[in-house]
Amino acid sequence: MSRTIDAVVSPTQTNTIPADISGQMLDLDEDDDLEVFSKDLTLADGNMFNASMPTSPGSMVNQCKFEEDEESDSKDIFITVDNPESHVTAIETFITYRVLTKTTRSEFDNSEYEVRRRYQDFLWLKGKLEDAHSTLIVHPLPEKFVVKGMVERFNGDFIETRRKALHKFLNRIADHPILSCSEDFKVFLSAQAWELTTYKKQGPGFLSRMGETVRAVANSVRGVKNRPEEFTAIQEYVEDFSNKIGSLDKVTQRIVKEQKEYLEELKEYGPTYTLWSGSEEELAEQLKGVAGCIERCCKETEEQVGHLSDTLVPVLHEYVLCAETLKAVLRRRDNIQAEFEAKNEALATKKVDRDALKEEIDKLEDRVEWANNALKGDWGRWQRSMRGDLKSAFLSTAEKNVDYYEKCLAVWETFLLSQRTEPSEETDRDNTP
């Protein structure tokens, strides 16, 4: 059991907790949300192992409301992720987040739940969802470690960025017509810590998972032969999109860097005018005025950079991860088809029990069809939310930039007003292009 130490980590505090928490990450892969192969066929799409999971696509549709439009007025589940706290135990230190759920859904016993979850738990949930729905698009989790520019894992900004991403992750699942019906999701939201631990221990063991992974690798090596045209098109799009979003991510980070360097120089610029004003009489006031303007513009610049870092950078980064998720989803779909094709070929060539094999092939065929439909359905959803997310992020950035320049304009215009004695001549120059 972990003890909660008094140090409550608020997003603005810089934590002094030691960075060595490798214990937390022992059983997890470095590549979080990538390359998750189907763990157990019996758990996958067609046949549900878990009691409360629907056993066929049809019943699944019945169970949940399939909403084309995920507007908040028709939402029946609200989730927030907040209040990060650090926990120090003998072997490790980690952060938990409060997950608050309010819902009117019938499958939940209560209407409100408050639990604490750590990053590991989110990873588990993601894994389970991907296992159960290998061709649905699960929104990415924030990465374990931020590669660039972040050394201290428990840095306040890092925690806040992660918190926001975790919040988005859960809400995206809640918005998803199929994923939000997952039993694993329900347990994640409602179970107390020890309950969750117990629940996690269920399901296929490590060794059987290994077996499945080996089969999946074998299948993927074989490759799919008759991929439907539409999935090839999607794959090409995903390739291109991945490149573009990667570039945008880099460009935006570069802009942030340049802007910060500009700010550093600007901070030294204002004082040179103040210094000069010390040697002057007539000019002193004006020089100080200019210094003041530059100083105020510094503040605005700082705010603008902050906004960029808080708003655009995380979204672009999220979609870089999304691109990887999409590639994985397409690969999984291909694997499912490859397995079916392999068995189908075997039917024609090998001397086996034809009836048994035929039955297996039928199941696999269903599986392929189900996988394709799921992906097709989710693809449209994903494109819409991608458009919405990126549009809103870029809009917000543009708005902030307009706001930034407007504020700086006001600063200089105020100064000018205080200086001018003959406004009529000066206005001519304003019109010079």
């Binding site: 460009v251 000069w276 000019l283 700086c408």
Partner: protein, 437 residues
């Protein structure tokens, strides 16, 4: 054009393609003349029109490429009579401008002589070329040279100088004429000036203060210009990186259906944003040049202070010399030796002088004293005259400086306003495009 009493005869600059910076410069210079003194500009338009490259052999007989500047002049009367005749023109290179200035410095040491623009581009931000042959640099130097000539022409004393007039009007033989004046011989050696600066006892306090001020001004303006250049560098980086958005948006729009148009047009605005910084920074360079002019002016201020110290020192030396001669006379007359002298010692050792010898010496001394008194009187007058005329010019300079720099700061604020307005426009446009995504 600034309207003011008695300035109708003043027309400024025949070059038709003026940038706002030049116009500003011209207006500023015109304002300077609106004083009671006569100025050359009342009679004549002056402009530095073009620049050209020439090749020739230099003093060590090696091939060199240099730039020449076209100086055009035209009597003001001609314009006001409705007829605009072609201007007279000649070509001058930078070294000739330097020669002119050196001549003026020596000939009118009580004048704060306007500085020349930089010989080499020094405090620049890295994208701006430091190459003397770079067209932008040449252009800025052209503007600076024109400004220099206008400063001279509007100076009440300098504008009447014959050498200056010939510089503007006769291409051939001017150099020889300057050398013939023998001004180089009149120049005070640097060593002499430094010596005086150390040893002078009672310089006018105002000049001492002025020297300190000019040192301070040099230091603060240098620093300001350096930091400004760094800021410009960084700003350039920020704007230019946005150009990448243009490229990526364009490529991305190719694979999108609904978002395509919005992205494509947003990309164009990003390209425009990135491109806009070049003009912005070019304009700011004019502001930097205005500050640089006053940075270089500090050297002229120091030159006047040095001349005062030298003059004062020579006066003090003459007075000291006179005092010592008077004392020698007194000693000779009274027979007492108050000060140690070799003569005194030797006479004690080898016997006194004869009465005739003493008489002869006395006569010499009296002659020397008379001359000395003349000298002191002369130096006194010289010094007073210098202090008077120099201080008038310095006050004039101070007023000019305050006016010019006030204008410069205002124009800087205007530049910032313009940049902000452009930013608002670009991002408002981009926002509309994003809305269409």
């Amino acid at each position: 054009m600034m309207a003011d009493s008695g300035s109708e005869e003043i027309a400024v600059i025949g070059n038709t393609d003026l940038t706002s910076a030049e116009l500003e410069n011209n207006i500023k210079n015109t304002m300077v003349e609106i004083e009671k003194w006569t100025s050359l500009l009342r009679k004549m338009e002056i402009s530095v029109g073009e620049a050209e490259k020439r090749t020739g052999k230099n003093t060590v007989n090696m091939q060199e490429i240099y730039t020449v500047y076209l100086i055009e002049t035209r009597p003001v009367d001609a314009v006001t009579e409705g007829i605009i005749p072609a201007p007279d023109s000649l070509w001058r290179r930078y070294s000739e401008f330097e020669l002119l200035r050196n001549y003026l410095l020596v000939t009118y040491p009580f004048v704060v002589v306007a500085p020349l623009p930089e010989k080499r581009a020094e405090i620049v931000w890295h994208k701006l070329s430091a190459d003397n042959m770079d067209p932008d640099f040449v252009e800025r130097r052209r503007v600076g040279l024109e400004n220099f000539l206008l400063r001279l022409a509007s100076h009440p004393v300098l504008c009447n100088d014959k050498i200056f007039y010939i510089f503007l009007t006769e291409e051939k033989g001017w150099k020889e004429m300057v050398y013939e004046t023998g001004f180089q011989a009149k120049a005070d050696s640097r060593l002499k000036a430094m010596n005086a600066a150390f040893r002078v006892k009672n310089p006018d306090k105002r000049f001492t203060e002025l020297k300190h001020y000019s040192d301070e001004l040099q230091a603060v303006v240098s620093q300001l210009l350096r930091v400004r250049a760094r800021v410009a560098d960084r700003l350039y980086g920020v704007y230019k990186v946005h150009g990448n958005y243009g490229r990526v948006f364009s490529e991305w729009s190719a694979i999108e259906k609904e978002m395509g148009d919005g992205l494509q047009s947003a990309g164009h605005h990003m390209d425009a944003y990135a491109a806009s910084v070049d003009d912005i920074l070019e304009e700011e360079e004019h502001y930097a040049d205005q500050l640089k002019e006053y940075l270089f002016y500090t050297e002229a201020l120091r030159a006047v202070c040095r001349k005062h110290e030298l003059t004062q020192f020579e006066l003090e030396m003459a007075a000291q010399d006179l005092a010592s001669k008077k004392q020698q006379k007194e000693e000779l007359v009274t027979g007492t030796v108050r000060t140690f002298s070799l003569k005194g010692m030797t006479s004690k050792l080898f016997g006194q002088e004869t009465a005739e010898q003493r008489e002869a010496k006395l006569q010499v001394l009296e002659q020397q004293i008379e001359e000395g008194e003349e000298a002191v009187k002369e130096k006194n007058t010289e010094s007073d005259e210098f202090v008077k005329t120099a201080w008038i010019d310095i006050e004039h300079f101070k007023d000019q400086k305050d006016r010019d720099l006030k204008e410069a700061l205002i124009s800087y604020a205007i530049m910032q306003i313009s940049r902000c307005k452009k930013g608002i426009q670009v991002w408002t446009n981009a926002k509309e495009c994003f809305n269409k995504m």
